[in-house]
């Protein structure tokens, strides 16, 4: 039972990640590999505030969202000048810089969270407290799952309202023809900055949820593999609508769990899982560029 609850929490977390990434990739048409970096920044910000300053979940997540929104300019500003492959490369640079900063911002003799040892480098942060929401702490697996589902539901609701709003339609217009949208007098650059900032601040919530669930965080959550995994989710599930990323998150979380029943040795199982992700990406591009349930294909 606890195993299923654990999976459900993972599903909630990745639904938030995939839905927010869809706002950038599916609605703005900008393929980014840096999203996992913002996910990790959200997690680290929450962990440091909760662990060192004893902040509750709501204020810590609010600060994490703000930090990610400001740092999201690193992805949004290059999109003014770069298109296609070169934009992807720019996001890859951002991802590498975030990973490098998290991995290296440590010093062995200083306490965790001080200016010299902010992230504890490759050792990561342990003992992250459970979330405390105005004095209530979801300590049992069931209550934490409910809490995660409520958080994912509210993030999903916000994104759903945004995508259905005139603002969301404007994003689609910019994605399909930026010049025409500009011709109508829309400030397309500012709208893109807004979209990337919103997506990055929402993924910070997912990072905080992950940190408080696993209670341990290391730089691997900002790694390129993680970035590729979340990008696979939205591409396999489908871009440009609300259900696609949810389907993608479900498929890519369910798949490795199904592989467990094949009783492969542990090392082979991890390789096989990634092999399937890779092949899925290739097959999707050939036979179903829209993804399983998407409305927009990668250009």
């Amino acid at each position: 039972m606890n195993y299923l609850l654990h999976l459900l929490v993972y599903f909630d977390i990745y639904v938030i990640v995939a839905l927010s990434l869809n706002l950038i990739v599916g609605y703005c048409g900008m393929l980014t590999l840096a999203h996992a970096g913002y996910y990790a920044i959200g997690g680290y910000t929450y962990a440091l505030l909760a662990l060192n300053l004893g902040w509750g979940f709501v204020p810590a997540v609010a600060v994490a969202m703000l930090v990610c929104a400001v740092l999201s300019l690193a992805v949004a500003l290059p999109s003014w000048r770069l298109r296609g492959d070169f934009f992807v490369l720019g996001t890859l640079a951002v991802q590498a810089l975030i990973f490098s900063a998290i991995y290296n911002w440590s010093s062995p003799d200083t306490p965790l969270g001080s200016w010299k040892n902010l992230t504890n480098g490759p050792f990561g942060i342990t003992g992250i407290p459970r979330p405390s929401i105005f004095g209530w702490t979801p300590a049992s697996p069931l209550s934490f799952t409910l809490f995660a589902t409520v958080v994912a539901g509210s993030c999903g609701f916000v994104l759903w309202r945004l995508q259905r709003s005139p603002w969301g339609r404007l994003l689609l217009a910019i994605r399909d023809d930026e010049l025409a949208a500009r011709g109508l007098g829309k400030n397309t650059r500012f709208i893109k900055i807004q979209a990337v900032a919103i997506a990055s601040s929402i993924v910070a919530v997912a990072g905080a949820l992950y940190a408080s669930h696993v209670r341990y965080l290391d730089p691997s959550s900002a790694s390129l593999d993680e970035g590729i995994l979340v990008l696979s989710m939205v591409i396999v599930g489908g871009l440009g609508n609300f259900k696609g990323p949810i389907v993608g998150a479900f498929v890519l979380i369910a798949l490795p769990e199904l592989l467990r029943f094949l009783s492969l040795p542990d090392t082979q199982a991890a390789n096989l899982r990634l092999l399937i992700y890779g092949l899925l990406l290739v097959l999707m591009m050939h036979f179903r560029p829209n993804g399983i349930a998407g409305a927009y294909r990668v250009q």
């Binding site: 290059p78 298109r83 296609g84 070169f86 590498a96 990634l274 092949l279 294909r297």
Partner: protein
């Protein structure tokens, strides 16, 4: 001086891979991430051949043939069908990324995840005037110099090289003149495989290899391409040298752990301030497509 020499030599390994990337990117506009898979798989072929008692020239030849074959396989199975469907660059990039992931996992499942080396025993060292150069560095330097100058000669002097440059300039016009674009695509992918094998084998001989090193090496190569100039075949050589020198200087003055930050910081600076690279002409990026 020692640091500069080290930088130039490690830069020539980066330059080899950057030329491999550019050999595909310029004529076909495919952002070939599958290259990372080829880079990762090649030394394992040489390693297996060596362990089955083949002499080293045959092992290297077998690895190079395997790399070229793998490159052709990727073109035949993935990029050529997508190009026929007029797929966009994002589709090529994502499917190529998928191929890379799949190749690396197959390599890891066959040969295991742990690092290996092609060299047996210690390397010999030669000294001049206080400069220390290892045997592996000599090999890297020689292979880099021969392969890169050979490629430059091929591009400038041979008819085939001229056609490759023509295709890079304007593929539609090239096809209209009656040249077989598909055959020239295979030429481009073949060259890419050969350069990837060279880059991969010299690095594997020098510092060893594992299945997961490919993507990092290709990312360095792509940074070299951007820095050197993404519109030219040989700009990446300059980019590779600059990157090699920068990375060794960072190790010397700060610490090896800031190498990545410096590399990608340089990329960010170039993308923002001079996206056409050092040797590139000043055009909008999308205008060159």
């Amino acid at each position: 001086m020692q640091i500069l020499i080290n930088g130039l030599i490690s830069g020539s390994a980066i330059a080899l891979l950057a030329v491999a990337f550019q050999a595909v990117y310029l004529p076909t506009r495919v952002f070939f991430m599958g290259l990372a898979g080829i880079y990762a798989a090649t030394p394992f072929i040489a390693y297996s051949c060596q362990h089955h008692g083949l002499p080293w020239p045959l092992s290297i030849a077998a690895a190079a043939v395997a790399a070229i074959g793998l490159s052709w396989l990727f073109e035949w199975a993935n990029h050529a069908p997508l190009a026929r469907k007029k797929a966009g660059e994002g589709v090529h990039l994502v499917s190529s990324l998928g191929l890379y992931i799949a190749t690396v996992q197959i390599v890891a499942m066959i040969w295991g995840n742990d690092p290996k080396t092609l060299r047996i025993g210690l390397d010999y060292v030669s000294r001049f005037d206080g400069l220390v150069i290892t045997g592996a560095q000599w090999i890297t330097f020689t292979v880099g110099a021969v392969a890169l100058s050979g490629f430059a000669f091929f591009l400038r002097r041979s008819n085939l090289g001229l056609r490759l440059r023509a295709m890079a300039d304007n593929p539609v016009q090239f096809a209209l003149f009656g040249y077989n674009v598909n055959a020239h695509r295979y030429l481009a992918f073949g060259l890419c495989g050969a350069f990837a094998a060279a880059a991969s084998l010299v690095t594997a001989y020098d510092i060893g290899f594992d299945p997961h090193g490919g993507l990092h090496a290709v990312l360095l190569a792509v940074v070299a391409v951007i820095v050197g100039g993404q519109g030219s075949f040989l700009g990446p050589v300059l980019g590779g040298m600059i990157l090699g020198i920068l990375r060794t200087q960072v190790v010397w003055h700060f610490s090896a752990r800031w190498q990545e930050a410096a590399t990608f910081g340089l990329l960010a600076v170039f993308l923002m301030l001079r996206p056409q690279g050092i040797l590139g002409r000043e055009t909008r990026l999308e205008a060159s497509k």
